[in-house]
């Protein structure tokens, strides 16, 4: 028996517990790495029978760290259910403001709490120093900026959704509040500072990548397809657009696809060892059709960014690959900081738009039975698909979350790192560190539960060709 079935037992229901299994062949060489993330898969069943108007609020229970993304993706789907294709300008802009606020706080949090310790101290540094507390000691200003930026984004969420987490702002067909002049003026006071700080965070990520380009080229890097929403003119659009997929060289796979029919282009493969599905592009097939989503994919797929400073940053980013997609796992950090700046610029533009004080908040249309809502969440494209019966009850829900879209890439990144850093049959601190850094680049939801501490509960298992456990290490 050369392979044995591995039983995966979720150690805990805590969202965000990650477990990696590394499989070896007879010669003790790495053949595969498998990342397991415990997901609350019962959700799709749980929402069946619930009234459609409840869903945008209900789905926020899916994730404690990006509830706004679920809120908006579901609200977009429910716009379709109530027959609304075009929101009022005020409603769309309030939702965008909420979304950019979420993007801003999520990216800031990820960078300062999770990523900056790796970049500032190096991957090999002792975990006792390589954490957010270490950053706060050595770079106190930076730590303060991180906290302030996160707070700014959260206040925007509160002003548009009613609460920092689990708000109710987006309703089918619109929103339930606008932004008052007083609220707007509070945000305007600080927005220039936020843009400045975004630029300095961007600089850290950029300089780091430039300085370590050789090393990073070999760190969990691999060619892949890239998928994201794109505006009709090819601009990056985090809130709405059509689907675009490009391959590792930048050639178009599909473009300007109306996401209402996403399932004609994207399918999900089930593998026996994982609760998480493996999405792939149908025309290419499961073997090679998997793709990346998130900041890296978005920068790679878009033609330009419609906010000036982020566009300059994008051009610099694309410069190192001569305009072709960048396929380095570690380039996610740089891409994420470009989006941080873009979000700040978009927030500034929106705050200066009088439509935010408009009072036309909701529209109605003709009820439909089926609808899809997509959004570019901080971690990547998020799919919400629903069917609703004539009694207004949900009969079908299919969600493809960002982390699921990045499933294969994360497995490959871990595999690459394991091949490089595993020597012998022992899990060393160094291996654990590097696996952690590779997974973290994707900012998967497994870091959700741990954002506050900047630590990732990670467990690595090493199994031989017979499937026997050789070593195990947890953090």
């Amino acid at each position: 028996m050369s392979e044995r079935k591995i039983i995966i037992e979720p150690v805990t229901r805590v969202e965000g517990h990650g477990k990696v299994t590394i499989l070896l062949d007879e010669n003790q060489q790495v053949t595969q790495a498998r990342l397991h993330i415990v997901e609350f898969r019962g959700f799709e069943r749980f929402i069946q029978g619930r009234p459609y108007w409840e869903i945008p609020v209900l789905v926020q229970r899916l994730c404690g760290i990006c509830p706004v993304s679920h809120h908006l993706a579901a609200a977009k789907a429910m716009d379709g259910i109530v027959g609304v294709d075009q929101l009022t300008p005020t409603a769309e802009k309030i939702r965008r403001l909420m979304h950019y606020g979420q993007m801003f706080q999520s990216h800031a949090l990820h960078f300062f709490h999770l990523c900056s310790p790796d970049l500032l101290f190096g991957f090999d540094a002792d975990v006792a120093i390589r954490n957010v507390v270490g950053v706060a000691r050595k770079f106190p200003e930076l730590a303060v900026q991180g906290v302030m930026m996160r707070k700014y984004g959260q206040e925007i969420i509160k002003a548009t959704a009613g609460k920092k987490i689990h708000g109710t702002g987006a309703v089918p067909g619109g929103v339930n509040k606008n932004l008052s002049i007083a609220e707007r003026d509070e945000f305007l006071k600080e927005i220039d500072q936020m843009i400045e700080w975004s630029k300095s965070a961007l600089k850290i990520a950029k300089d780091y990548t430039f300085e370590h380009l050789d090393e990073l080229a070999d760190f969990g890097a691999f060619d892949s397809n890239h998928v994201s929403l794109i505006r009709e003119d090819g601009a990056m659009d985090l809130y709405h657009g059509n689907l675009r997929a490009v391959n590792a060289e930048g050639a178009t796979i599909f473009d300007q696809v109306d996401y209402q029919g996403y399932y004609k282009y994207i399918a999900e493969e089930v593998r026996p060892w994982s609760y998480m599905k493996f999405p792939f592009i149908k025309t290419i097939g499961p073997e090679n059709g998997w793709y990346r989503v998130g900041p890296l994919a978005r920068i790679n797929t878009c033609d330009f960014i419609d906010s000036p400073e982020a566009e300059i940053a994008r051009q610099e980013f694309m410069g190192i690959t001569d305009g072709k997609p960048n396929n380095l796992t570690m380039a996610y950090h740089w891409a994420r900081m470009i989006e941080l700046l873009h979000s700040a610029e978009k927030i500034r533009d929106l705050l200066n738009d009088p439509d935010l004080q408009g009072t036309d908040l909701m529209v109605k249309g003709e009820r439909r039975e089926e609808s899809v809502g997509l959004i570019e969440a901080p971690r990547g494209t998020l799919f919400h698909h629903y069917k609703v019966d004539e009694n207004d009850q949900v009969t079908m829900a299919n969600l493809i979350v960002s982390t699921t879209n990045n499933n294969t890439p994360m497995n490959l990144a871990v595999e690459g790192v394991a091949k490089k850093y595993l020597s012998g049959t022992e899990i060393t601190e160094g291996l654990l560190n590097h696996v952690e850094v590779a997974i973290r680049a994707y900012d998967p939801c497994l870091s959700c539960a741990t954002h506050a501490l900047g630590k990732m509960p990670l467990e690595i298992e090493l199994r031989d060709a017979a499937g026997e456990l050789i070593d195990r290490k947890a953090r």
Partner: protein, 232 residues
């Protein structure tokens, strides 16, 4: 007519219940099944007070001259907390995504009593949703059996849409026997669609239209209107 609540002398009119007299005097006695437009039935027991040493439901007990009523004793607070607690675990009350959140009397009552998590284990009983009616939905997960809807339908709407059926743990609100709401003469304009203290009877397509911060209990605890003497 005079009597006392927690030592405070109260003026009452003949025929008034303890609750009515207390309301008029600006003293709030917590309640869930009582409603100012409906005949009291004394069923939820949240309004329990001690009258001359014996527990009574303040919503049904008429005032008598010289009565000594205790309302805010530690024992009564404890008793009321327990009842509210039981209501949470006997139903499926997911406040975090319930559209009545912020306007819900049960939730507001829990906040008033400082309950953040129930002390009893959740029972997660299987309950139905009746969404058959075009304009009104019935989510039995959130029913607390206050029977306000039963009374409102009969007393105010001149209909008989709702009834209490079954016994004990299986007790539930039925519609015209064992039918669904679509089979009744229920209208969204009926008063019975308005009186539900929780998120059981809801008007379709009205959810979450009021932003957080502007809902009934966002800023003031339940009962504060009475305590401020604003009895309508």
């Amino acid at each position: 007519m005079k009597f006392t609540i927690d030592g405070q002398e109260i003026e009452a009119k003949p025929g008034q219940t303890i609750m009515e007299a207390a309301d008029a005097a600006g003293i709030y006695i917590p309640r869930l099944c009582a409603h100012s437009d409906l005949k009291p039935i004394g069923s939820c027991r949240v309004c329990t007070v001690i009258v001359d040493g014996r527990p009574q439901a303040a919503c049904v007990k008429p005032v008598a001259e010289g009565m000594v009523v205790e309302n805010e004793t530690p024992e009564l607070l404890e008793h009321r907390r327990n009842i509210i607690d039981m209501m949470f675990v006997e139903g499926n009350h997911f406040c975090m995504f319930c559209e009545r959140s912020g306007n819900c009397e049960l939730q507001a009552m829990a906040y008033r009593f400082g309950i953040t998590a129930p002390q009893y284990p959740f029972q997660f009983p299987p309950k139905e949703v009746d969404a058959s009616h075009p304009d009104v939905m019935l989510d039995h997960n959130r029913c607390i059996m206050c029977a306000r809807c039963v009374r409102a339908s009969q007393e105010l709407d001149g209909k008989n849409v709702f009834q209490s059926i079954g016994r004990g743990f299986d007790r539930k609100i039925g519609v015209n026997g064992e039918k669904v709401l679509a089979d009744t003469d229920m209208s969204v304009d009926d008063r019975s669609a308005d009186v539900c203290p929780v998120g059981c009877i809801i008007k379709k397509r009205t959810a979450f239209k009021t932003p957080i911060g502007q809902r009934l209990y966002d800023h003031q605890p339940i009962g504060s209107d009475i305590e401020e003497g604003g009895h309508e």
